[in-house]
């Protein structure tokens, strides 16, 4: 009995695999299954080969698996595309005739069903039906959800969709009853109350929870989802959402919006961030808060626009000229994406520094069911003061943070100056003042270090080998480690990568062997460990072909560590 099924939907861009996945994932979850879904796609609008990997399981699953139990290719080209993920057990499901493969295909007459239901446009729904049937999802839930999903369409269209789903469901059940297939995933009634949110939504929702009311950004894959999400809820949450003319405008708007009292964010990818350096440095000298969401993709240059990588940690770490503090979060789970995005706004406001939320394409496009977010845990910390006449924007204080006023709140005047300035915010060429202001700015690092997001240890406390990861490698490493069966190995995940949280020290010292696991070619976090953790990694598991790690390849690599 298989209680963890990996389904891969493959097709050309525009063939509708996303519709299948969208409906199926929700119906499966509501039916009591835990689901996980992610996608990989080419940088084109039509054609090519794209796939979605969907897992359905009896327990929470949250990482990409390499192997395929069921492959539903809408295009014959998909088989070559996923060749290295297929095993002898992989079932290829589909219209045997239409696909005309030289491999055995388990016939699911999707096009015939669609025709019967009313036409070719019902093929996606028919496919959903077949898969729902195979996995024995709740048919009422399926029907109900289709009515919700297609609300707004003509009644006839809705009915025909339901018919296609029913016919598909029956066909799917038949395949199982035939004995061609057999899955029986135990149900968990708690899934009904769990939510399905992908990384992009989690970042955007976290931002809203953290008080974000301003987003200025320029579209760039894979970061655009955060912009579109906030834009599409601008009237509900009174968010100013503006598509800037370029990334430079985006970051300068965000910095100035904070100056005027907004809580602003810019979302971008590596190439865009490379244009924002001066604006980030501006936030550094102005001591305005700033939140930047950086969804990484493979570079250099345009690279692989729709793929994933963790190649821009060092860019985030050193972007901008001159010296000033910053904070970098790197969520490894959907919950962390939500919480750290909210926290980013508070940290930025409290310390008056740029705060990065570092994600990647894999995070953006991945979801799995998780408990509903707890909003009570999150407060919006404004850290704004009402000013009076003598207000000094850059007053020297113990911890380096000068109380922040905003124009119009109180009788003080708010100066923001990108030159070196005195406490009043006016240009200075005094070397004494310069030294004092540099010390003040850099001194805030201490404040930041006091309140880090600690790293998360999974696995045995008495580990000998320590796998170290950050950001999106979190879940694949966790499951890979579990599968490897190693008892001498633990996993330390860093949701905050900079400054390196002091809690890391003990773990790093305990480890006989530290192995960094990164989705890049040069082990950038490994270098950060050397610099700020005082520990040179003993090895690295790296991947930089544009794809995320799979559970299997990590399990293999972890097993091989000696």
């Amino acid at each position: 009995m298989i209680n963890d099924v990996t389904i891969v939907l493959g097709g050309q861009a525009g063939q509708g695999i996303q519709t299948i996945e969208f409906i199926l994932a929700r119906v499966l979850k509501r039916s009591g299954y835990h689901v996980f879904s992610t996608k990989e796609y080419m940088s084109r609008i039509r054609g090519g080969q794209n796939t979605i990997t969907l897992r359905a399981a009896d327990r929470p699953v949250s990482a990409l698996t390499r192997h395929i139990d069921i492959l539903l290719p809408l295009d014959p080209g998909i088989l070559e595309h996923v060749a290295d993920r297929m095993t002898v057990d992989t079932v290829i499901l589909g219209d045997a005739e239409a696909l005309s493969l030289d491999r055995a295909v388990l016939d699911a007459p999707i096009s015939r069903i669609a025709r019967e239901a009313g036409g070719k446009i019902y093929e996606s729904t028919a496919a959903v039906g077949v898969l729902a049937g195979i996995l024995e999802a709740d048919q009422t839930i399926l029907r109900d959800y289709l009515r919700v999903y297609f609300r707004g369409k003509k009644p006839k269209v809705i009915d025909q969709n339901c018919a296609a789903a029913d016919l598909g469901y029956a066909a799917g059940r038949k395949l199982c009853e035939d004995g061609s297939l057999s899955y029986s995933i135990a149900r968990d009634e708690k899934t009904a109350d769990r939510i399905l949110v992908n990384g992009a939504e989690a970042v955007a929702l976290g931002a809203i929870a953290g008080g974000c009311n301003f987003i200025s950004s320029y579209p760039m894959s894979p970061s655009t989802g955060v912009l579109t999400f906030l834009a599409s809820h601008d009237d509900t949450f009174d968010i100013v959402a503006e598509q800037a003319e370029d990334e430079i405008a985006a970051v300068n708007m965000a910095v100035a919006a904070w100056y005027a009292g907004a809580r602003a964010m810019a979302t971008t990818s590596g190439g865009g961030l490379a244009l924002m350096g001066e604006g980030i440095s501006l936030a550094g000298v102005l001591e305005t808060p700033l939140v930047i969401h950086l969804a990484q993709r493979p570079g250099p240059g345009t690279g692989l626009p729709t793929r994933t990588e963790q190649g821009d940690l060092e860019l985030a770490l050193y972007a901008g000229h001159g010296e000033f503090p910053r904070v970098i979060y790197a969520p490894g789970t959907i919950e962390e994406a939500f919480l750290l995005s909210a926290r980013a706004f508070n940290t930025a406001a409290r310390c008056q520094v740029p705060v990065f939320v570092l994600t990647d394409q894999y995070t953006m496009d991945t979801y799995y069911d998780i408990p509903e977010f707890e909003l009570e845990a999150i407060s919006v910390e404004k850290h704004i003061v009402e000013t009076n006449a003598g207000y000094q924007r850059y007053r020297l204080t113990e911890d380096g943070v000068s109380p922040r006023g905003v124009p119009g709140y109180g009788s003080g005047l708010i100066a923001a100056d990108s030159d070196e300035h005195d406490e009043d915010g006016h240009i200075t060429e005094s070397m004494t003042v310069r030294n004092a202001q540099v010390d003040k700015r850099l001194g805030k690092m201490e404040l930041i270090m006091k309140d880090p997001v600690p790293p998360v240890l999974t696995g045995p406390e008495d580990f000998r080998v320590l796998l170290v990861g950050w950001g999106s490698t979190c879940q694949p490493i966790r499951e890979g480690l579990e599968r490897s069966g190693r008892t001498d190995t633990a996993h330390l995940h860093f949701p905050q990568v900079y400054p390196l949280p002091h809690q890391a020290q003990g773990y790093l010292e305990q480890a006989e062997k530290v192995i960094v696991v990164e989705n890049n070619a040069t082990a950038q976090f490994g270098k950060l460990l050397i610099l700020h953790g005082g520990r040179e990694p003993d090895g690295a598991i790296l991947k930089y072909d544009g794809l995320p790690f799979t559970v299997e390849e990590l399990a293999d690599a972890i097993t091989e560590i000696d």
């Binding site: 601008d234 949450f237 909003l375 006016h426």
Partner: protein, 286 residues
């Protein structure tokens, strides 16, 4: 004379004696005073350059940001708090050179801000290189054989962009300049005021006298709402037209298009996210 509320008193000003910037500074201060504005409601936004130092010499809020980036900053400040009077003031190199893309798109966006450009036809602070408005033939340390690139015509460009208020002034005429700036500030939407300003240190070609000799004012008979006429006026050979050259009152300011201000004009700093609606939204993901 009563002390102007925007006056900083006795401060060290880093401009050269005789620089046109002094006059512009004073004119702006007097205009704001006359309009009854208070320093606490005005935010000056600038980039980097000699002109961009202006906000430091003005009693008001200010955001002295990066070279070329005053306009996105000004737009954001206005969008974060529409109750503020926002004036983006900087040099020709800053606004028309480094910041050119923002100029285009700010005109499209049409925030209710005033954009004053000190146009001395040269890069002052970096010591005399050509700016986009430098005239043909001007010799500089970089343009050693003389400028050959077509001088940027901000008036023509703004009219082509259908900017909602387009004017030109001359620092040597404080009275008229003050009046033009007043109209610009009162205008609802983006208002460009290009102010000719002599740079006594680096521009020996376009002096106070040269500007006086090479400009003329449009008069009462001029119709600034006629776009084609305005374009003709600003692209005509010969002397430069001064005054309010083009106005399009039909355009809606950026902030008024923002859903965040459909219900109220409360500045963003006073707002907090609606927890209930957020919980509702999250619940739809079940």
């Amino acid at each position: 004379m009563e002390k102007n509320r925007f006056d900083m008193g006795d401060i060290d000003i880093a401009w050269c004696p005789g620089c046109g910037n002094f006059r512009i500074l004073q004119t702006v201060q007097e205009t704001l005073e006359k309009m009854g504005k208070a320093p606490e409601e005005v935010v000056f936004v600038s980039g980097i350059g000699q002109a961009a130092k202006t906000p430091h010499y003005m009693k008001s809020h200010f955001f002295n940001g990066l070279h070329g980036r005053a306009l996105p900053a000004a737009t954001a400040i206005k969008a974060a708090n529409p109750g503020l009077t926002v004036i983006a003031e900087s040099g020709d190199g800053d606004m028309y050179g480094e910041g050119g893309n923002h100029l285009i798109h700010t005109m499209r966006r049409n925030p209710n801000i005033t954009n004053i450009v000190h146009n001395n036809m040269v890069y002052g602070l970096t010591k005399g290189q050509a700016s986009p408005t430098s005239r043909l033939g001007m010799v500089t340390p970089v343009q050693v054989h003389g400028v050959f690139e077509e001088p940027f015509n901000p008036m023509a460009m703004a009219i082509a962009m259908n900017a909602s208020f387009v004017a030109r002034a001359f620092s040597g005429h404080p009275e008229q300049t003050g009046e033009i700036i007043r109209q610009a500030i009162e205008h609802k939407g983006y208002a460009l005021v290009d102010v000719f300003q002599p740079c006594v240190s680096f521009n020996k070609m376009n002096t106070l006298k040269w500007f006086a000799d090479n400009t003329w004012y449009v008069d009462g008979s001029y119709n600034p709402t006629d776009r084609a006429e305005a374009f003709k006026t600003v692209t005509a050979e010969g002397k430069f037209a001064l005054g309010v050259l083009y106005v399009n009152e039909r355009r809606i300011p950026f902030e008024e298009n923002l859903p965040a201000y459909k219900r109220s004009n409360t500045p963003l700093y006073m707002r907090s996210p609606d927890r209930e609606k957020l919980a509702e939204l999250i619940a739809t993901r079940k």
